[in-house]
């Protein structure tokens, strides 16, 4: 019972803050709403008893991505807090159509797919099994992805430092 109440609280929190991201008139507010929504999704993972994924979500999306968004806002905007500007342009109706279409596709694919296991009966995957799959079964893929990320980081640094060379 208590779990259902908590689940609905989290669901309302996530949807509410996600709406806040879109509706909010200040970019900073939108970024903070985004952070809360991403942290709320980490809570959803806890309900699915995948604690490891929940913590990864918190670490990557809550701790790193949202903070990078805030940092980028700090570096690029005027140093004032609460300026409110209309973020809606003439493309608003097309954006709405695209958003509704995407939502329809996602919901449809989630409903149509036959999922391997029921959510009602999850079994906790031990951490050792995750690392076995990640580093042994898919070891080569893991290394390739790491190299890709490394190349991206080095490339970003080179691009950012370009102005010094000129």
């Amino acid at each position: 019972m208590a779990v259902e109440v908590l689940w609905w609280l989290f669901a309302i929190l996530i949807v509410g803050t996600a709406l806040g991201v879109v509706v909010s008139r200040s970019v900073i507010h939108a970024a903070i709403f985004l952070l809360v929504a991403l942290a709320g999704i980490a809570g959803m993972y806890v309900f699915l008893t995948v604690e490891f994924l929940a913590l990864v979500q918190l670490l990557i999306y809550g701790g790193a991505v949202a903070v990078l968004v805030l940092l980028a806002l700090m570096l690029t905007r005027q140093a004032t807090g609460g300026e409110r500007i209309s973020l809606n342009g003439p493309q608003a109706p097309f954006a709405a159509i695209a958003a509704i279409g995407l939502a329809a596709i996602l919901v449809a694919s989630a409903v149509v797919t036959t999922w391997p296991r029921l959510v009602d009966d999850p079994d906790a995957v031990p951490l050792g099994r995750i690392s076995e799959v990640l580093f042994e079964d898919f070891g080569a893929t893991f290394i390739l992805v790491s190299i890709l990320l490394l190349v991206a980081v080095v490339g970003a640094i080179i691009l950012a430092r370009q102005e010094d060379a000129e």
Binding site: E51, L58, G63, V67, M74, G82
Partner: protein, 376 residues
């Protein structure tokens, strides 16, 4: 995961009671950490520190707290209202959540999480958000600068922090903090992973922005950084967060590296001794932090970032690789410890020799008086 017997048999009530105990102790500890730091810094600077309020100034923090609560809660006109007002709470919540998983004595903490170590650093990552909110919402350029500095510094130093902890987790083979302590019954992990401890301590100083890494809150450069506009109760929230984080980090460091409640004789001598061990070790770490503050001057931001990205991260990755070889081939723990000690000594030696080298800038000191000497 619960500990043995929940109070009154109800899980959430049990959690609440344990949490209230931990938070109550935390508040008291924070009060006396502030007092202790002022007293200690006073001694380091050959003065007495607070000595008027109560015997030896023992009630100074309470007097300060009453004064702060009584102060007017100011908000600048161009501040972003909600961001400004929620920032102190957003900064405090992660520290509060960390306390949930720290084991203070055998099977005594709020909750015994299976992924405790990972939980701590996942939640710690959110610590920056409150500071960024304060920096963005204050409508003040100093606050913004402080926020940018804090974000850059904390994101960077989180990497060596996490990797040094992972090195210990590799040796321990578990992420459960309670089990990590139990494994250190005969020797604390600092003996076999001293290099990881050095990296952890450095990154901890930086995450807490204590001197010599207090760049985001530097009074003489940006007059206090992100909390420049705060006053009264909200400022005291930031102060509470800072010292609570210091305490939580020290307990965490004591648990992971110094053997927590288990070393020495933790299992034989009962829970009183265990509690004493945890508190004593955490206060020892806090003493080290304050000693650093009194001794080392503040770094520049470029030195700070260079030290993280060009030194600490490489060394911590090297540590992971060395540990991996030892664990994969099952080589002896003694040799692993010796290799790590050698690494730690070489690392500290290199940093020290770099620190005491003659600065090139020194040749320019005073050269404005005789311009001919300015060109070396």
């Amino acid at each position: 995961m619960d500990f043995a017997d929940p109070f009154f048999g109800i899980s959430w009530l049990d959690a609440l009671i344990r949490l209230v105990i931990v938070v109550g102790v935390m508040t008291l500890v924070v009060m006396y950490l502030i007092y202790g730091e002022r007293k200690l810094l006073g001694r380091f600077q050959q003065r007495k520190g607070p000595s008027y309020t109560g015997p030896a100034g023992l009630f100074q923090s309470f007097a300060d707290a009453i004064k702060l609560v009584g102060k007017e809660d100011l908000r600048p006109r161009n501040a972003d209202r909600w961001v400004f007002e929620f920032a102190p709470f957003a900064a405090f919540i992660p520290v509060f959540v960390i306390l949930v998983t720290l084991p203070f004595a055998q099977d005594w903490g709020v909750r015994n999480l299976g992924l405790g170590l990972f939980f701590v650093f996942a939640v710690l990552g959110l610590n920056i958000v409150g500071i960024l909110m304060a920096g963005l919402g204050s409508g003040n350029k100093y606050a913004l600068l402080g926020g940018v500095r804090a974000a850059a510094q904390m994101i960077s130093y989180e990497i060596p922090l996490v990797i040094s902890l992972l090195a210990v987790a590799m040796v321990a083979g578990t992420l459960n903090l309670n089990e990590i302590v139990l494994l250190q019954e005969n020797r604390p992990f600092v003996l076999i992973q001293p290099l990881a401890f050095v990296i952890f301590f450095t990154a901890m100083l930086s995450e807490l922005h204590r001197a010599p890494f207090d760049i985001p809150v530097a009074e003489s450069e940006i007059s206090g950084g992100y909390f420049i506009e705060y006053s009264g109760i909200r400022w005291s929230m930031f102060q509470l967060t800072e010292y609570a984080a210091l305490w939580a980090f020290s307990i965490f460091g004591a648990v992971v590296f110094l053997g927590g409640w288990a070393f020495p004789f933790g299992l034989e001598w009962g829970w009183g001794w265990q509690l004493f061990l945890t508190i004593f070790k955490s206060f020892f770490l806090i003493f080290l932090v304050m000693w650093m503050r009194a001794t080392v001057p503040r770094l520049r931001i470029d030195q700070l970032m260079n030290f993280c990205w060009k030194v600490l991260i490489e060394v911590s990755f090297l540590l992971i690789i060395v540990n991996g070889f030892f664990l994969y081939y099952g080589w002896s723990e003694t040799i692993l410890g010796l290799v790590n000690w050698a690494g730690a000594i070489v690392f500290i030696g290199l940093v020290y020799s770099r620190g005491i080298r003659r600065s090139r800038a020194r040749e320019y000191v005073g050269t404005y008086r005789n311009p001919e000497a300015a060109t070396p």
